[in-house]
Symmetry: D2
Subunit: 383 residues, 4 copies
């Protein structure tokens, strides 16, 4: 596949994700962590315009100067921006205008990609691909939040049962022996800067589950009073439970004594055999404590990962999101990509049913604050 | 005009106000006081369905049971409701669905209005007309807020200069003599319960301005440092100025030393001769203090009102919003219309350029919290 | 009594109120509305120093320049000040240092009062007396809050049963006839600026209770579900009830099915015949609604007041705190005394068991925000 | 030294720290992280009473049942407690009462320690010693906060210059070679559960500074615009700087162009050669970025620590506070000591000039949230 073909395929997939939406669904921002779908469509376009077309494409005419203010996410280097909590307050640019903006930038990109590209540009391009793929995952989870927190529980698509991807795996544990292991990416393909610098770590003996914790197992935790017993929780996790009246994973509803959950295919009975999802790190930690087990570190996870089924859930690890030895930020705006978030977050490993194909690898490091639940997060235990 | 004709005319006008909107503009709620336009369209429809069709129209089939939850504004009697701050988080029902809901209820209403109506129903119907007209005014001011706080400053309509209605009035003061006057509505037509019980008040000599304070006069206040001098302000007004960095009326922008304001026709230079607008009670009070004058009470205003030009601004008064002697709430949900808001608000009198025709009278009492500015508020001075 | 004698008597009484305190009780500020007792002692001293000694007493040496920052309450004219919420964060000046400050200023005042005083100074002096008396009332209610919200319920004084002052009054209503009445102070003695400008008001027929609502009657309201029925409440009152889990007056505790309340003499069983107290305007309004009655306006209250027992409770009125006709602020800091608070507050009339002797009169206007309860507030009904 | 002697010595030192205080200084809580000194004195006493006397000392009479509610810090196992933000709202128990409580418990402890003690009791006793020593450090830093944020800048003690402990160290870096190292405590003496399980880690080559960053170096960072350049900061660090208007370490004041800082000996000119202190992790990270260096991990720090001067500052590390391999919580209330805080905090290593003698060791792990500054924190760089 040529770079142009890859560009067009990725760009098209973002729009395909939005096909089932009504115009109104593109606009709202019910919580600060969720962005309006139209913002994702605009922001990913702005990324190519700002970091490739403007600096490298001669004679490129910026589509609209005001869009830098509207679609900048967090790049301080690139100027002022709409504060994050205001994204859902902007009815304009309209959805149609944003699709026109996409078409304009795509046309300019296709022309530009037909020219001779430097290695620097190629690298930025691949970064842009991966950036848009990250937003594709967010698009889907943000859409789920927007629809799933509407009292009418609208269906995104009857065909998205969310569990099709789940493969049956053998139960049991994988034993890994104590010793020095290598961690991080050193291949020739793309990776983010936070995975680089393959380096040695010392691991102790551990046994890690082949399978993810299922909904049935999590219901046992609920029924055993897991949400009412402070002993299983971090102090900050317990505060979070109390302050937010948490008593089940996100999207779960107890209706006439039976558990349902909102899925992209609508409100459905819980599938007991599917891996539990939409849980915070705090809940994952409490569940593991109740089980008398623990979570893997991201290093343990990476070493054992070849034995796992792929692409079901993002799996919380016990590791904090920190730089690898020798990590250094790139200069300029691109350097704001990862490094400045390396505090107060936990690492997640794997990939979920919302992750675009080809946008995952064993060394990939995802990260979220410990209270967040709107991603397809899951639990893998270690003993 | 028959009741059916009046019904259809009023219902149509709500939709006419929304004609210039794009779908996205119907959805957002940038501050808690502003409701999404689609919510207004749904809520006014729900009002007729809930208070007329459901109790009085035999065999009426409720359009959608969930809508009671979505479109109830504050009627505790009628059950639970979406909390006010969440109105802008709901992408569904979509704009189209709400227009279908309107059409369904309108059809049922037209059929019902062709039957013999009791006096009770006629009264509720007239209340529904007036209720929808109140929301028409809010629709326009909410739309102005949604567009006017967007960094792209989109135009609602080039023909809405907002100042066409302003009539030139003679400067000068009207002198009213001390004595007992009568206040409140006692006509045969519709009025709200808060205007009823015409009663006597004792007024002292006062002189009230024939004209509203102009933008030019307000710029003098700004230039004289009015926003920087605590002496002119209430303590709570001064806190409001400091906490919100207020230095001009809402929608005003100082660009290269020249004042512009956002209007429904876009961002335009300030019209110096037009009455100042979009100011809080706190600002109005400070302006009057700076002038060495004061605001009228609502009683002074009502007695002098026949001499005023009509329909330019809602005019802040010094009066708190309190019940008239003998005021009593109607039983049931309708009784929640006015009485329960009679604390912590100030009375405004008059009508603004956003007020629907026939929806105003000299005894009409509007009311808002003292910090609010998104209505077309104005200043009339007394000395 | 000479001015010096009066000065010394008033100053001494502030210290007498504090006699039962331990040093620690002088320091804390559990809510923003309550000030630490040591702050009251310092602030009232600062008032005499700032408004009398500094401008009028030749050669007066300011005790400590920093105290202006520490003891200014809200006078913007007099410079910066510790923000109100920080008063309880200051351990210094210590209680001893503040008593020394009082002694220093008192000595200077006694010397100064022996000189020939201008009328301006005499007026300021009388204002200072009344100012300190206002703080004496707050001292006692703030002390009650500090002790009454401590889980150990310490006793202030066994002799302060709080109900000794309550006189038995005949039940029944006083009928007042429609007509023009005169309101406000026009005597030769001291009054605050907010009571001045005696003026005419028109009152309609009303009947006002001779007695205050008792604890027994209020318990009936509680038992009838008054705190669970939104119909009796203002919308903002209902929010207040829900957000703060209010289910009884402040200081009330239901212990083994029996009502107790914290008093200055400790935690005691409720006296059923005593007037209910420590209730907000919201509760008072809800109680009146439940009874099918209403509160008096401050004008109705003033006209009927000669028939009431005196000094039991501050009585909430339906009137908002607004300027009387012709009200004008004095120039300078003294002008900040009352006028700048004339928004968002309700008027209370009467005097309570915490009011110093000689610090009350029929025209006195007290004022608080509608949610506040730590004063000895009460209910008188009108029908 | 016998256990009784050690007990008495430690208990006495807490009181010695408070000797320079006035009663009022014991009471206030200016921010949630700071506790009133009298609370520390009571809480450490409650610890011995609750975990030793009540369960193990036959016939021990609890001093006051209410104190469990007042002095419990965070032990959910032991029942309800005063919420942390309310500690400064309690004037009672008074300082004298708390000293009496200490005397009562000390007397009971001395008697009890004269009996034959089981190993379990001995362990709890040593934990109680270490617990009180931790609070001694907090006592001093909390006192500094209480006095240092008072506008009068009261002096704690003229003899506490805070820099006497600072030893001159040779500048330069220590080079450590790549390899497997051992981390954690495995001695025979006391350590906290979070240091246990000595285990292997793999370290890469690094060079760590022999000295701490000085005030002079930190002033260079300020003068170079370090607080105004987002590039050096984490995104959350930058938000913290902006939201709190941070422009220098805590306690620093720029007076007439010269830097002063509040010390326990009062407001003094900055000592340029002393190690910088009272800085958050965010500032430390930004400083290191500006220098082109980084912070050590806690493992790097521990391996190099034998070469450092001791007891100057608690040194922020890059490590998140996480469990060591094999960590497990003790059952019951004692198990709440460390484990439940292992999220969202950073590890600090070393000891500060506020740390009691004998209460530190190379494996000791302290931890705080990244924005906190009131401890004697410092910076050691790695390259």
């Amino acid at each position: 596949m040529t770079l142009v073909e890859e560009y067009l395929q990725i760009r098209k997939y973002s729009e395909q994700i939005c096909e089932p939406l009504q115009t109104e669904d593109y606009v709202v921002q019910p919580i600060v962590d969720v962005s309006p779908p139209k913002w994702h469509l605009g922001h990913t376009t702005w990324f190519f315009e700002t970091f490739i077309l403007k600096p490298f494409s001669v004679n490129y005419q910026v589509y609209n100067d005001e869009y830098n203010f509207v679609f900048n996410s967090y790049y301080e280097t690139v100027g002022n921006r709409v504060i994050r909590t205001d994204r859902g307050n902007l009815s304009r640019p309209s959805v149609n205008e944003i699709y026109q903006y996409r078409a304009y930038v795509d046309e300019a990109m296709v022309k530009f990609l037909a020219t001779t590209l430097t290695d620097e540009v190629k690298e930025l391009l691949i970064l842009g691909f991966n950036h848009e793929q990250q937003h594709q995952e967010l698009l889907l989870t943000d859409i789920k939040y927007i629809l799933g927190n509407n009292p009418l529980f609208p269906i995104y698509s009857k065909d998205r049962k969310e569990v099709l991807a789940i493969q049956k795996s053998e139960p049991g544990f994988i034993n890994i022996s104590e010793g020095v292991y290598e961690i991080g990416y050193d291949g020739a393909d793309f990776s983010f800067d936070n995975e680089l610098n393959r380096h040695k770590v010392y691991l102790h003996d551990f046994s890690i589950s082949k399978t993810l914790v299922s909904n049935a197992e999590f219901i046992e935790f609920i029924n055993a009073g897991g949400y009412e017993n402070f002993n299983f929780w971090h102090a900050e996790g317990w505060d979070w439970v109390k302050n937010n009246n948490i008593s089940a994973p996100m999207y779960w509803h107890l209706i006439d004594g039976k558990w349902f959950n909102y899925t992209l295919a609508g409100l459905l009975p819980i599938d007991l055999t599917a891996p539990v999802s939409h849980i915070s790190y705090y809940e994952v930690y409490a569940f593991a404590s109740w089980k008398g087990m623990r979570l893997p570190t991201e290093f343990e996870w990476e070493i054992a990962a070849e034995h796992f089924n792929w692409g079901e859930r993002w799996e919380w690890t016990e590791s904090a999101y920190l730089p690898y030895p020798g990590f250094s930020k790139a200069p300029g705006a691109i350097g704001e990509y990862n490094g400045k978030f390396m505090v107060n977050q936990k690492v997640l490993r794997g990939a979920s049913i919302a992750t675009p194909k080809n946008h995952s690898r064993i060394t990939y490091r995802n990260f979220f604050h410990p209270h967040l639940r709107w991603q397809y997060t899951g639990i893998r235990l270690v003993k």
